[in-house]
């Protein structure tokens, strides 16, 4: 799950949500533009640097990435074995590292796999930076400016608000089931999956009950009393934001130009 917003005064916190979103878009675009792991590795380093300087708790990121590791390894294997040597323009990348029976494992394929992994890394880190530094209300206001109805934005906000609640609920249900003899998440695959049914059903029943209560509580708080609502903090672009947005656009343009010169491929 994403890391929650944490109020602080870091330089990223002070930026406008639109600047950050554009930043996210330009970084991911650039990483998708280049196939070479070298460039993607450089971008990864830059994003990690930002992440460290704003004081994000690293334990949270470890938690997001940990379950992805088997997928990463799978990706490296698949790309290594499935990309034939003739796919690559550079000679070194056509090298075959080893073969499994008749199927060759190419260096280029392996490097491409690394790029794919790094792209995921980059997206996880940049989206973490955004969620960690931006209050959800700002993101909602950005959506509102794009003329999305505020009810829709409200659904997203409430959904996010309830993520920790549901996590806690599912923990409590697991504990209650274990306490009366249920083995949850152990044994073979099928046994493991079926053991989660005893968690899932109470969780669904409980969510239904909660959503009913939530609807009542919304009415109690006057939701929908008027056609619109008061915005508390108007999001505002400062000079710094304009400058950074401009730089971000330049970065994308330059990246496109470099790529068109056939640099950064495999």
């Amino acid at each position: 799950m994403l890391i929650e917003y944490f109020p602080s005064e870091s330089y990223i916190h002070k930026l406008d949500v639109r600047t950050k979103t554009l930043g996210f878009l330009s970084i991911t675009t650039i990483s998708f533009l280049f196939l070479s792991p070298v460039i993607n590795f450089f971008i990864t380093l830059c994003t990690i640097l930002i992440l460290l300087t704003i004081g994000t708790p690293l334990a949270g990121i470890k938690k997001i990435l940990k379950p992805l590791f088997p997928i990463f390894i799978l990706m490296l294997l698949i790309t290594g074995f499935t990309y034939p040597a003739n796919k690559f323009t550079s000679g070194t990348n056509q090298n075959i590292l080893f073969s499994l029976g008749d199927v060759p494992f190419t260096l280029g394929g392996f490097l491409y796999g690394i790029t794919l992994v790094l792209r995921i890394f980059i997206m996880v880190i940049t989206s973490t930076i955004i969620t960690y530094t931006t209050p959800i209300e700002d993101i909602l206001q950005m959506l509102k400016k794009t003329k999305i109805p505020h009810q829709f934005a409200f659904i997203i906000a409430t959904g996010i608000r309830f993520i920790p609640t549901m996590q806690k609920k599912s923990e409590m249900i697991q504990e209650a089931q274990q306490a009366r003899g249920a083995e949850i998440g152990t044994g073979g695959l099928i046994k493991r999956i079926s053991s989660y049914i005893s968690v899932l059903i109470p969780l669904i029943v409980d969510s239904l009950r909660m959503s009913d209560n939530l609807a009542i509580a919304m009415l109690n708080r006057g939701f929908g009393a008027m056609k619109t609502t008061t915005d508390l903090n108007e999001i505002k672009m400062k000079t710094k934001d304009y400058l950074i947005c401009f730089t971000e656009v330049i970065f994308i343009a330059v990246a496109f130009w470099i790529r068109s010169e056939n640099i950064g491929g495999l």
Binding site: I160, R161, P164, M172, S198, V205, A225, T230
Partner: protein, 584 residues
């Protein structure tokens, strides 16, 4: 004649209301009035219609919860039939149970602003009301805090602040204190009484708290079966012990004393006492002499000869990135003991209990059950020996019938069909659910679902039972029935650990009390010892039951006994004190 209703008043003139899919009427001629500025308590058994009647008052019934509705309800002089719920919400603030589903904002400040911004208050105005409401509930300085990280008591106060920020004329709260410890409960009532003093709001609160209702409410309305069966001053209600019991309300301890004095014709009807001062005044005026007798402890003291079944050795525990939740606990619990774990919310009672069946594992130190280190066993394996009954039964019910539900845990035990059947039937019979065997669990009432959850644990036949807050949210009858069951198990030789905020129950039923504070045991011993340690209890934010505080006051008259329940105290008062007009 046309009646003029004042703003801030409530008038219910309901002929009947029936849910859409229900066969019978929920309400049959419900009529009551509340004046502007009153503080009214709504009492009655679970299922008597308290919550439903609160939903009448801002139009949730019949606008959101539909059904056959005949009659009129006026809140703040507005007929609820004519206005939308959202419009009513501006004037009638309703705080329901479960604060969790009433919090919308990610931060405290944003959450409180949710209501006013829906009502399109101006920006400056919103800032002002947010500050004002946070101050009123004692959450100043919490503006930027993340709502999901608040404690239960803080969430409850936030829910109230969120409604206060809409500046309602009428404030309605449904059991706002049921999940709180005594200190938190006191805070909520103080807050309400401050609001009342300012004269800005009319307050209606439903509750099972007898003492607080006596202290804070101007008037009590008692419901039963969707009808108002009693209405009047709280002193008048609680003086009549038999009547309160009949209406399913826990009687006041002092009133019980007065009642027994009255029955023994030591008290005239017009000189009854209802609070501590009146009682002490009575003692001063009417006590003639005192027969002293020596003190003897009557509770079983098992600590000397019974084998140890639970032992923790230097048990410490901390949650991630937080300071330690449990600090070097060394506790021994003997076979057949009934132990009550008390202390304020967050003191470590539940965290400690979860170590005993492996739901949490110690950061350092060890837990021994029957002399075996449990670190090698899973919670499921331990469930045969250590049963754990959670507070919320809905967190475990998932089968289609009551029978299947109880069978669930047994499936893994490799029992013979016969043995399994016997166990299920025994467990269901014990909690009194045998006639519901084939029913769907969710068609049962909340109290019955709680019994079902209890039965599922009992079917595992554990020798040790841990019960987390067995009486929270239960009315007086439900509480008594639950305690009867626990007592019966105790008599059968089970070791029982009960986590509770109800000091009367702890004092009356437990052999031993363990007081938690900040992850440490600050006091332990039999109730007649623990509850008389005033200073330590105070530092742990625990309040002793009324009868204990009263008996301390009688020390100056030569009374030296340590009663822990109202019945013991009553007996002493009648047998060892000699009163004016006493024939002996």
């Amino acid at each position: 004649m046309f009646e003029v209703l004042e703003r801030g008043s409530i008038k219910v003139d309901l002929l009947r209301f029936k849910y859409k899919d229900s066969l019978t009427n929920i309400f049959n001629s419900l009529n009551f009035k509340i004046e502007k500025g009153e503080f009214v308590g709504l009492m009655g058994r679970t299922g008597s219609g308290k919550t439903t009647s609160m939903m009448l008052l801002n139009g949730l019934i019949p606008h959101f919860i539909e059904g056959e509705f005949e009659g009129n309800v006026y809140s703040n002089s507005m007929n609820t039939l004519r206005y939308r719920i959202q419009t009513m919400s501006r004037f009638v603030g309703l705080v329901l149970q479960d604060p969790e589903t009433q919090i919308f904002g990610i931060t405290v400040e944003r959450d409180v602003a949710f209501g006013p911004s829906n009502l399109t208050f101006g920006k400056e105005k919103i800032k002002e009301v947010v500050q004002k409401s946070l101050k009123a509930v004692g959450l100043e300085g919490y503006e930027k805090r993340i709502t999901s990280e608040l404690s239960g008591g803080e969430k409850q106060r936030l829910a109230i602040a969120g409604v206060l920020a809409m500046e309602p004329e009428i404030l309605i709260l449904d059991e706002p204190t049921s999940e709180l410890d005594p200190a938190g409960r006191e805070e909520i009532y103080k807050l309400l009484s401050n609001l009342k003093k300012k004269g800005e709001v009319t307050i209606l609160v439903s509750s099972h708290d007898t003492e607080e209702m006596l202290t804070y409410a101007d008037r009590i309305i008692v419901l039963d079966n969707g009808k108002m069966i009693w209405e009047g001053k709280p002193t008048k209600l609680f003086q009549d012990v038999e009547e309160t019991k009949r209406m399913g309300i826990r009687p006041l301890e002092i009133a019980e004393i007065a009642n027994s004095f009255y029955k023994n014709s030591l008290l005239k009807a017009d000189s009854e006492f209802i609070n501590k001062n009146e009682f002490l005044q009575f003692v001063k005026n009417n006590l003639t002499s005192f027969k002293s007798s020596h003190n003897g402890s009557k509770k079983n003291n098992l600590t000397n000869y019974s084998p140890v079944v639970i032992e923790t050795k230097d048990l410490s525990f901390n949650y991630q990135q937080k300071d330690s939740a449990l600090k070097e606990m060394n506790i021994k619990i003997h076979k057949g003991e009934f132990v009550a774990l008390i202390g304020k919310n967050g003191a470590g009672k539940t965290t400690f209990s979860k170590q005993l069946n492996g739901l949490l594992r110690p950061t350092s130190g060890s837990v021994l059950i029957n002399g075996n280190d449990i670190s090698r066993f899973t919670t499921a394996q331990l469930s045969k020996e250590v049963g754990y009954v959670f507070q919320n039964p809905d967190h475990q019910i998932f089968s289609a019938t009551v029978f299947d539900e109880v069978e669930f845990g047994l499936k893994r035990l490799n029992l013979s069909d016969e043995e399994r059947l016997t166990r299920i039937n025994n467990a269901l019979e014990f909690v009194g659910l045998e006639k519901f065997k084939n029913r769907h669990p969710f068609t049962l009432g909340k109290g019955e679902r709680q019994k079902l959850a209890f039965a599922t644990v009992l079917a595992m036949e554990p020798n040790i039972l841990i019960i987390d807050e067995p009486t929270t949210g239960q009315d007086w009858d439900g509480t008594n029935k639950m305690m009867e069951m626990l007592n019966k198990l105790h008599m059968q030789g089970h070791t029982i650990l009960m986590i509770t905020h109800n000091m009367q129950l702890a004092a009356e039923y437990a052999d031993r009390i363990i007081v938690f504070s900040n992850g440490k045991v600050v006091l332990e011993g039999p109730p007649e010892k623990v509850f008389y340690e005033t200073e330590v209890l105070k530092s742990a934010f625990v309040t002793a039951p009324d009868c204990i505080n009263l008996s301390k006051e009688l020390r100056s008259y030569g009374y030296i006994k340590y009663p822990v329940s109202i019945n013991e105290f009553k007996k002493d008062l009648l047998e060892e004190f000699i009163w004016k007009g006493n024939v002996n």
